[in-house]
């Protein structure tokens, strides 16, 4: 074998790749948070108080974990309509285990998380084995889980939860709620999994280009099942921490999670089309939704209007996602035709 040939200067295609084509990202959400936050600090006197921060922190913590769940499934190219149902079911199961069966808190929590993962695995298996769309499968399982929830509790919350469990929800460290730190820790773990761990990278490749992934040997079906299990695990996690915060295991937990579970990731730059996610973006998106809801209260706007604002924000987020994809199309077309325009017509031709 001859020595490696020296690379010729002409042969290098070393133009600096431009960043302009980067489609997803948290920057927009972060800017929006800063802008809205600034506006609210000015308009509402009680916005910047420590008390309000605590309220905001708990809200963001909960919402962000639910949003992480949807983010993961979206990145894999699917969706999960059962996040709220799983959260609620886990909440009452864990509450019931602690109140009715006197299961020790740590064990109950672990059992709840395990059940959540199992529910997700069920979702994933159904999607993969039946070939049905994730939409209809998770719509149906959401109904099953909610029904189980109501059937078990008959709509009645579990009020008598152990003190150590409730303490988790109330604990603060230097004024910062522990639950917020827990959420950040979860986010950090997810960030690590999706950027540095084989499983996470496999999931992302499946969401971005399933055929290329399959050709490379990525187990596409297994990845889909795993990501659904992960999503429901996170939904269960969110249900548990919300229960700890409330101090009561309410069957109605998760009722309003669906919309925001989509809104936060999309606002934060997770692509609807899959293949990309942004943890900071999700947190920023959760933050934005929370301060908007909070701001409405601060500004004494009727709380009945909150849903309207949520809906409009998601519509805006969808609009941004659409603009991004239009931009990508435009740039790709421009590149294709920049070349077609290059050679001038030769003499003798039209």
């Amino acid at each position: 074998m001859t020595a490696p040939r020296p690379l010729l200067p002409d042969a290098m295609v070393a133009e600096a790749p431009s960043r302009r084509r980067f489609t997803g990202g948290p920057s927009g959400a972060v800017i929006a948070v800063l802008v809205v936050g600034a506006a609210l600090s000015v308009a509402a006197p009680k916005f910047l108080t420590a008390d309000n921060f605590e309220v905001l922190a708990y809200s963001v913590a909960n919402l962000a974990v639910v949003a992480f769940a949807q983010m993961a499934v979206l990145a894999a190219g699917g969706m999960d309509l059962s996040v709220g149902a799983v959260g609620g079911l886990t909440a009452v199961l864990v509450g019931g285990m602690m109140e009715a069966w006197h299961v020790p808190t740590p064990l109950a929590i672990l059992a709840g998380l395990a059940l959540g993962a199992a529910a997700g695995a069920l979702n994933g298996l159904l999607v993969v084995r039946t070939g049905l769309s994730a939409f209809i499968v998770t719509l149906a399982t959401a109904s099953v889980f909610t029904g189980l929830n109501l059937g078990i509790t008959s709509g009645q919350p579990f009020y008598y939860l152990p003190e150590d469990f409730k303490a988790i929800g109330a604990l603060t460290i230097a004024g910062v709620p522990v639950l917020l730190l827990v959420m950040l820790a979860v986010g950090a773990v997810l960030w690590f999994v999706f950027s540095r761990v084989g499983l996470g990278r496999q999931i992302l490749s499946v969401g971005a280009n399933p055929r290329a992934a399959e050709l490379a040997g990525v187990p596409v079906e297994r990845s889909r099942i795993v990501v659904h299990a992960l999503a429901s695990f996170l939904a269960a996690f969110a249900g548990i921490i919300l229960t700890a915060r409330l101090g009561v295991a309410q069957p109605s937990i998760g009722n309003d999670w669906l919309l925001q579970s989509f809104a936060a990731p999309i606002i934060g730059g997770t692509l609807l089309s899959g293949g990309f996610l942004s943890i900071p973006g999700v947190i920023a998106g959760a933050f934005l939704l929370t301060i908007v809801a909070n701001g409405l209260i601060q500004l004494n706007i009727d709380p009945y209007w909150t849903q309207l604002f949520s809906g409009l924000i998601i519509l805006a987020a969808g609009g941004i996602d659409r603009l991004r994809s239009l931009n990508v199309q435009r740039l790709e077309r421009a590149e294709r035709f920049a070349l077609a325009n290059m050679p001038a017509p030769r003499p003798g031709e039209r």
């Binding site: 969706m79 049905l132 939409f135 499968v137 029904g147 059937g151 849903q307 309207l308 949520s310």
Partner: protein, 338 residues
């Protein structure tokens, strides 16, 4: 492989036994699953719960099917073009409350109030369709967002109020029957007949199904798919409005919770009845059979004294089972080229 292995080009079963041919015919029939389920459950109920076929119970069933059927039709119109209407719950609530308000506070007679409500429903649907078509935003997200926005707008404007001082003549309509058959059911079937006519005998219906079957081909064949899609959403809103005013009459009151339980049945009934989620094919009769199945299941739970809370679970399980069975039925048909 199949019977008659030497008949490689003839359709399998062409000269097979009668039993075989019946089986193939059954497997090819789109309504096989739902009819089978209905027969099984109905027989089980008739044997196990004699109260099932009492006049009272059958009338109650009739009322349920009447509303569920129209709700399912509202989803079917959008399914026909291959999309979902996740906001029909909110549109229902808006229309119910608007009509209630017009009657109770506005003092309008029930007919114009109901007509205005239904028109408003159509308008809401039209807006949804317009946003989806013009902005190009992911239709799922638009529908999800509007579900919240519409509901929020309604809550904000009504402040959670409900209306139960409605004109007695209106409420009476909700309860009245003709020869034991509730008027609402007759009306519902009439609406279904009209919708069925639209899909089978009108140009508009053909265009809806073409757009759903293959939007690209439809566009390239000269169909204005954007307008067709908006029309589908408008019709959906209209039907959701009709279902809402029917329900208000039946209940005698208009509440913000109206329509909150509609989402899953609006998908389950059509799917059970053979309508495709991907668009291009609708079966109205099948949709009503599906609605009937859902109502009978709910009814059965009541008759057997099972808590109503388990209904949701059972609904989800039934839907999954029906979908899975239908999938395997379709692949069986494909494999044996029936």
């Amino acid at each position: 492989m199949t019977a008659g292995s030497d008949q490689s080009t003839a359709r399998p079963g062409a000269s097979a036994s009668l039993g075989r041919r019946l089986w193939y015919g059954l497997v090819r029939w789109d309504l096989a699953s739902v009819t089978l389920a209905l027969v099984v459950i109905a027989v089980a109920l008739m044997i196990g719960a004699p109260a099932f076929h009492s006049a009272y119970n059958l009338r109650a069933l009739g009322f349920t099917i009447a509303v569920t059927g129209v709700v399912a039709l509202a989803q079917v119109t959008v399914l026909s073009v291959g999309q979902f209407n996740l906001a029909l719950t909110s549109i229902g609530a808006m229309v119910g409350l608007l009509s209630g308000w017009l009657m109770q506070v506005g003092g309008l007679p029930w007919f114009p109030a109901v007509m205005l409500g239904i028109a408003f429903g159509a308008l809401s649907g039209a807006l949804q369709g317009w946003i989806i078509v013009r902005s190009g935003i992911n239709a799922f997200i638009v529908s999800l967002a509007l579900a919240a926005a519409y509901f929020g707008a309604m809550l904000g404007l009504s402040r959670g109020a409900s209306f139960n001082q409605l004109p007695p003549s209106y409420v009476a309509l909700g309860r009245a029957s003709l020869f034991g058959v509730p008027w609402l059911l007759i009306f519902s079937v009439a609406v279904a007949a009209i919708v069925s006519l639209v899909f089978t005998r009108t140009v508009g219906g053909r265009k809806l199904l073409a757009t759903g079957a293959n939007p690209r081909t439809a566009l390239m064949s000269g169909i204005a798919t954007g307008r067709v899609t908006i029309a589908a959403h408008t019709l959906s809103g209209l039907l959701a409005g009709i279902a809402a005013v029917m329900l208000v009459a039946r209940l005698g009151s208009a509440q913000p919770s109206l329509g909150s339980e509609w989402l899953l049945p609006s998908f389950a009934a059509p799917v059970l009845g053979g309508t495709l989620l991907t668009g291009g094919r609708v079966l109205i009769v099948g949709t009503y059979l599906g609605a009937l199945l859902l109502a009978v299941i709910a009814n059965g739970l009541v008759l057997f004294g099972v808590s109503a809370y388990w209904y949701q679970s059972l609904l989800g399980v039934v839907l999954l089972l029906a979908l899975a069975i239908d999938r395997s039925r379709q692949s069986y048909v494909l494999r044996h080229q029936l």
